[in-house]
Structure formats: C-alpha cells, structure tokens
Symmetry: none
DNA sequence: TATTTTTTGTGAGTTTCTGACAATTTTCAA
DNA sequence: TTGAAAATTGTCAGAAACTCACAAAAAATA
C-alpha cells in the first residue's frame, strides 16, 4: 500500500518531470499532504527525486534539462549517436562479456544498454559510472592515467590489464575514418588500447556516425577489414556501405 | 558586478553541489539574501541550477552523481566531512604524489583540492572525474571491478597496479574506528587495497569524522599506530585525541 | 484477540519565500 | 561633470510551504 504509492509517485514524477504538492494531492486524493511529503522525503533519500519548494521533480528530468544545456557543449550530432547506440544495444546478448571505449558514442550506448547480466570492460570513467547504475550488469574499469578531455583512462601498461581479461565482443567507435587510412583517433595511448582491445576480442563492432567519414586523425587503430560489424546512421553514404559489404562486413 | 557574482555563485554551486541560502550568505557578505534569491532565480531560469527549499543545488551535481551515490552523499554529516576535507587540502604540497580512496570524504577533498601540480592515484571513479576538472593536476585511476554502491574500483590484482607506482602520501578515510579494532571498512577487497596503499605510502593521513567512532566494520585495514596524521572535526572527543597524541600522531 | 509496530492525519509553530516599494547604484546622454 | 533614466539592491510584511510532535488508525505479529 505504501510501497505501491511510492512507486506510483516515482513513476508519475519520472513521466511528468516536475509536479507541485497540490497536483500530487489531486493524483492521490485519499492520502494527506503530509503522507505525500513523507513519501517524497523517502524517494529523495533514495536519490530518485529532488524535492523543490512546492513539490518535487524527478532526477531524470534534471538530467534532461541539463542535457539540453550540457549537450550543446559536449555532443556533436547527438541524434545520430543515439540511434547508433540504440542499434548497438540490440546486439548485446545476455551473459556475454564485452569491451567498450570511453567516447561519447560509448556513453550513449551505456545509457541505452539493457539491464541484463553481462560483464563490461571499459576505459571510460563516465561510461563506468553510467553502467554501474544497472543492477544486473558488472563493470571493470581499466586503470591508467586519466585523459581529461574525454574522461577515459589510458596507460602504456594497459597490455598488462588485458592479460587476465577475456571478452568476446568489443564495441568501439572512432574519431575519424577513410577507406585507405582506416579508423583513427587523436591519442596514441588510446589508439594502442583500442588496438589491443580489437586483437583480444573475437568480434569487433564499430560504431561510426557519418560525420566521421573522410576525416583523418593521427593514430590509426584499425583498418576497414579488421571489423566485423559496422553500426552507423541513416546518412551513411550507400557507396561506402557497399565498400564494407564487399569485405563481408555487416552494415546496419 | 552582478554578472560576476552570479558566475561565482554558479561556480560555487557546481563545486559544492548543494548549499543553503545561509551558507551562500556567508560567501557573499555584502549583498542581501534577497539579491541572492534573485540571482538564484536567474540561474534557475538558465537551467544551470535547481532551487530547493532553503537554498539551491547545481544541475551538474545531479547529473554527475545520480542515483544511490547522490543519496548517500546528502545523508551523513556532510558538514563535518567538508571541514575535514578543507583541513586536509591545506596539507597537500605542490609537486607531490598521493593516493586517495573513493569514499565520500575523499569526494569532498577532491572538490576542495587546490589546482596545483600534484599527481593523484585513486580508486574512486567520481573522485577521478572531479579531479580531472583541475588543470594542473594529473590523475591515475586504479583499475578493477566497479563497486556499485560507492563507485570505486577494487580488484584482487590491485597489488600489480601498485607495483609501478610511487607516492609519498596516502590520504584515506575509514567507515569505522575503535581504539582496539583500529580503522575498518565493509569490503574485503577495499580493505586489502587500503592496506597496500598505506604500506606503499611514506606518510599516512587518516580522515575520520567523529560519527565513525565506536563503530566496527568487518575488515580492519589499519591500526591506530599505523597512521601519521589524524584529520577530524570539532566534535572529536578530547580523550580520544589524547590517545592518538600519545602515539605521536598529529591530530588536527 | 491482544499487543506491538508501522503508517497516517492534524494542527501549531517555524522557516523560507515572494511581492511591493523605496533607496541606492549604474548608465548614458547632454 | 551633471542630471535623468534604468537597473540593481534592500527592507519588511504577508503568504506559502515545511517540520515537529503527538494522537489516531491500520497492519503485522504473537
């Protein structure tokens, strides 16, 4: 009875974003305001909502609001990344073990990730924190010096970290791609890491939004034929797709 | 003048997470509460903060440490932790190298940390992200499986990580302390890690707020005489202080 | 059924917030 | 520099929201 009401309350706030106590009172006519206040307090202590003057708002709402302000700063074509992440999330089977990088596309994937029993290795701090919210999933962070601009770790000794780890699948993304140069990124240690990840994995999924095509970054970590599946958005050029398909790479 | 104050206000909230109007009043002694209220209103309309009863909180804070981690942080005596963190931050010299754990007190310290040239090793993901905001500071995260409830890493192979690292100073905190049991915490892998950190460090600073006294957790990682400096709050009992001082431990 | 525990309601008292208006400071043109 | 307009700030009273303590009700337990 109490439990249910609290869940309903949390749901309601998640859907509506922000509600006043009066509005909540309308939704729950057979309990007093005081009870609702107490429920809200409990939800706040669980970190699920934030109580504001006059009512409460869901944490998700805050993340969304901030997302708008924050997204502009961080994410270039977030839409494409989101759609790519959604596609990628459908490819993850229960009880598998996989590697993800720490980039913004990986971050999208982390958010879209189903809460199933899988083990994820990552070098992204934000990715790890996001994944740690999921109950059924376990996460291991690769240690190393923190790269400030993308909050991921990298270290020349990453090889050691990989020695005792096993994963079937690596899902990574690149900062740049051309057919002849391959997939590249800006940092050498990161390129090293990704290279190791792809060698270790049985299967390699590459997430690449179409804005990356034709760009070149200093360090190549994979060639066209190294990957098994390419996950991209709708604006990906058809002739480019053909190029991948010729090498027996699944494009989706 | 107004612009500057508002920016400062936003910065402050971003760093501290959540502050009451009274606290804000202390920071801005030469303006009235009403002015601060108006400033907060403006910041809220910009989507940068959320006004809550009694004060305001930063949006970044919510999105960064969502869920359980946030709830915990607000829960147990944040004031004492802040004061302890402030004391600890004064003890850090430029160009040194130190270890910090991933607990909530360490998180406070991370926020209070001066932006100077030091190298920090930590097993806390949130701590690492916080520290990564500082320009002059460099951070290394210890790898390992992520412990979901406190967002820190731990792994049985942490010993290997420590092998190639050197730091003079370890600043750690405990979940519990009694004179005979010593400093203890709830997780075995974490206790192992902290034990290694203290053995590796030349000097060991322990941050302990007074609410931890008399409590016992399953795994002891240091005894009273292992530490060099104890950093605590004002409510720390005098007789307990004496106990430390008898062992030549600095109490502050 | 009796007893304990948990949950809920009520109202007084406190704290925080808002609105209106006056005082002050800043801006800008003459 | 001076004066007028605009913006910013302070004060205070009234309103709104919140908390606390205790009693009533409901649920759980013996």
């Amino acid at each position: 009875m109490k439990r249910e009401r609290i869940e309903e309350l949390a749901d309601l706030l998640d859907r509506r974003g922000r509600l006043s106590l009066e509005q909540l009172d309308d939704f729950f006519p057979n309990v007093s305001q005081m009870t609702l206040r107490r429920d809200l307090l409990q939800l706040e202590q669980q970190g699920r909502i934030i109580r504001v003057r006059g009512g409460a708002m869901s944490v998700k709402e805050v993340q969304k609001v901030s997302g708008e302000a924050y997204a502009k700063k961080t994410a270039s074509n977030a839409d494409a990344k989101l759609r790519i992440a959604q596609k990628a999330s459908t490819l993850i089977d229960e009880n598998c073990s996989l590697f993800m990088d720490g980039g913004t596309t990986a971050m999208c994937l982390a958010k879209e990730m189903p809460d199933i029993s899988v083990h994820v290795f990552t070098n992204g701090l934000a990715v790890a924190i996001e994944l740690a919210q999921k109950k059924n999933l376990s996460v291991t962070v690769l240690g190393g010096q923190v790269i400030k601009d993308n909050l991921s770790t990298a270290s020349p000794v990453a090889k050691d970290y990989f020695e005792n780890t096993n994963f079937e699948l690596a899902i990574i993304s690149a900062s740049a791609f051309t057919p002849d140069i391959g997939f590249s990124c800006g940092s050498m240690v990161e390129a090293d890491l990704l290279k190791m990840a792809r060698q270790k994995a049985k299967t390699l999924y590459m997430m690449l939004d179409s804005s990356k095509i034709g760009k070149i970054m200093p360090h190549t970590f994979a060639r066209l034929e190294d990957i098994d599946v390419l996950i991209t958005d709708d604006s990906f050029p058809a002739d480019m797709k053909e190029l991948f398909r010729q090498k027996n790479i699944v494009v989706m």
